[in-house]
Amino acid sequence: MIKNTFSTLALLSAVLLLNGCTSSIHMVNTDGFDQAIPAGVDYKYVEASTKQHVFLGFAANTNYVDDARQSLIAQCDGELTAVSTQYSTDHSFLSWYNKILMKGVCIQ
């Protein structure tokens, strides 16, 4: 009975680890609401996300953050307002993904 319970728990833990089903959010930042969207002006929502695979904690740089920024700016010729930045991590077996998600409203 105890052996079965232990096996079930071990199997469940292994499945959870291998599927990377745990996730944590580290920070969310929003800024740029001082620009009201004028009526009759074209605007669009833009979004960019990048991620970095980290194995056993070894990471050489944080360039994926700059890549997200460049990607967001490249999508907007006009003014980019209501910019939100989200930094999170998805865990997996012996490794994890650091993720950056940036969103904004592009006013042409």
């Binding site: 930042n29 740029g32 944080t62 700059d66 920024r69 700016i73 003014e79």
Partner: protein
């Protein structure tokens, strides 16, 4: 044996793993003419420190590059590189400097 240990110790000491602490970005202007960038860092032994002045230095350095103008689209990244016993804390900031027409 001792030689191998020394080599391993040196390799571990010199190689660092970088981790992101925070990142933020403010409203980005339409005119992206002049990009200004600044960064500052300090070294911490075993995580013992009594000050965070290096962050202010980064901001002051950025402002010094846009005297009389307005900086917008400010992108701020705070990261820490971990070495064997030492940590490098770093703040990297950049933004777009918009100068008044009469200055330009």
């Amino acid at each position: 044996m001792i030689r191998k240990f020394c080599l391993l110790f040196i390799a571990l000491t010199l190689s660092g793993c970088v981790g992101l602490n925070t990142v933020s970005m403010t409203q980005i202007p339409k005119d992206k003419d002049q990009l200004v960038e600044a960064n500052a860092h300090d070294w911490v032994f075993l995580n013992f420190t009594t000050q965070n002045d290096f962050a202010d230095r980064a901001v002051d350095n950025l402002k010094a590059q846009c005297v009389g103008g307005k900086i917008s689209g400010v992108f701020t990244k705070h990261q820490t590189t971990s070495y064997l016993l030492v940590f490098k804390r770093e703040v990297i900031v950049s933004g777009y400097c918009s100068l008044p027409k009469d200055i330009m």
